[in-house]
């Protein structure tokens, strides 16, 4: 039993890990085939995982409605939104448009999802301003550097800034292409070393917390 519960999962991780690490070095078409089918497999497994998520969501809101917790009416709204979308999707066979004409499902997409998503995203415009106001204070030398770089780039990006200070466009390009690029490069190198080390530890069973257990 211990083998089935503990060792076998680790063995599965090791075998799949080594297989797909090795896959990269093999240009043969059969190796490509392996990769495409694995991607398909992962998609299928991910589809099943959605069941886990939906059950959890259903459960949370069912509890709220049953106990009539504060705001349980909104849980009903959530259910209604989901069911209507599902019904529209079923009627339209999952297509936003059939023969070029918009379906009910497409309507939900264009007039509900897109504006909702766009508006939530647009709120960032307000938040980026308030974040700048709160945190762009020259508290220290580092904060001052951050502040100056941000202001220069903001100037260089819009017509008015280029009009007032003609050099700002070029300077901001230089900051972005040279200074910013070098920092991102260093961060990427560091991050990838960490990621590779973690991957090795997982493949060889040193790191196993993802299985949800401590040490045996």
């Amino acid at each position: 039993m211990i083998f089935l519960r503990r060792q076998l999962p680790l063995l599965i991780t090791m075998i799949t890990g080594l297989l797909f690490a090795g896959q990269y070095y093999v240009p043969h078409p059969s190796s490509e085939l392996l990769l495409t089918s694995a991607t398909k497999w992962l998609q299928i497994i991910g589809g099943f995982a959605l069941v886990l998520g939906i059950t959890s969501l259903f459960h949370q809101h069912a509890v709220k409605i049953r106990r009539q917790e504060a705001g349980w009416g909104y849980s009903l709204v959530l259910y209604a939104g989901m069911l209507v979308t599902l019904a529209a999707g079923a009627l339209a066979k999952g297509k936003e448009s059939l023969d070029g004409a918009m379906t009910g499902f497409g309507w939900v997409y264009s007039f509900m999802l897109v504006p909702l998503q766009g508006t939530m995203f647009a709120i960032l415009a307000f938040f980026i301003a308030s974040a700048a106001y709160r945190s762009f204070r020259a508290r220290s030398r580092e904060a001052a550097v951050l502040l100056v770089a941000a202001v220069i780039v903001m100037m260089g990006r819009v017509p008015l800034g280029e009009y007032l200070i003609p050099l700002s466009g070029d300077v901001s390009q230089w900051i972005l292409n040279v200074l910013n690029a070098s920092v991102r490069r260093a961060i990427l190198i560091g991050v990838s070393l960490g990621a590779i080390a973690l991957s090795f530890k997982i493949i060889f069973g040193v790191e196993r917390s993802y299985l949800g257990g401590g040490k045996e």
Binding site: S97, F126, A129
Partner: protein
Amino acid sequence: MTLSERMLKIDRRIIFLVIGLCTLLPLLYPVGLPIKISPEVRSIYEYIESLPERSVFLLSIDFDPASKPELHPQAIALLRHAFRKNLRVVAMTLWVSGTGMADQLLTQVAQEMGKEDGKDYVFLGWSSGGTAVIISMGQDLYKAFPSDYGGKATKGIPVLEGVQSLKDVAYAISLGAGNPGVEAWYVFGKDKYKFELGGGCTGVIAPGLYPLLRSGQINGLIGGLRGAAEYESLVGQKGRAVAGMDAQSATHFAIIVLVAICNLFYFSLRQQQGRSRQS
């Protein structure tokens, strides 16, 4: 609480209001600040200028409502230019979710310029197959689109007279928000059927398309709202994008001013605290 302290802890809703107004007002009342035109946008404009009247201009509207803010104004400016030059406009889309929007857009500009459906322009709509549609259009346009968006048979539409395939297109532009988009039009279209190709895209993917531009695979590139604003000022009809750039300038300066104010108060507060500590 001193003034500085109060200003530093200002209710952020005031900032929201400032940003909201700085965006809304220029959109309603555009100023039209001068915009530096980049060579990649100018080359598209000049290519269309150089086309003889009644040349075939293909516009592929490859985006959906999610990318509308940036690409919609580009499409309008390009269509206005093409109609003014009396080109034959053939529009289509490779993104099914963009079909309705594309139709609306074309009808609106055509009405405004007094153009007639079927005679001056046609909207082919969407056809399944993704990039395969481009290949099939390269072989036979009428096979790829047997009928236009309105359901009329494409064979015999006056605007398509003498057009057999993509080879008869003088200039094609893809306004792409992803895949299929500009790149697909190069790989499956221009590379095989030898027509001139230009591109338009969202600001996010523009850097990725510059290699295509540098190697001459596309002859020009309109990037994001900024590119759209440049094109609008070239065409001389300042629209939404120019207004948008005014709004951009206004909000950027609003933020810069806010940051300057907050630092001013921050330093005066520090001075006050320094003084009170000394005394």
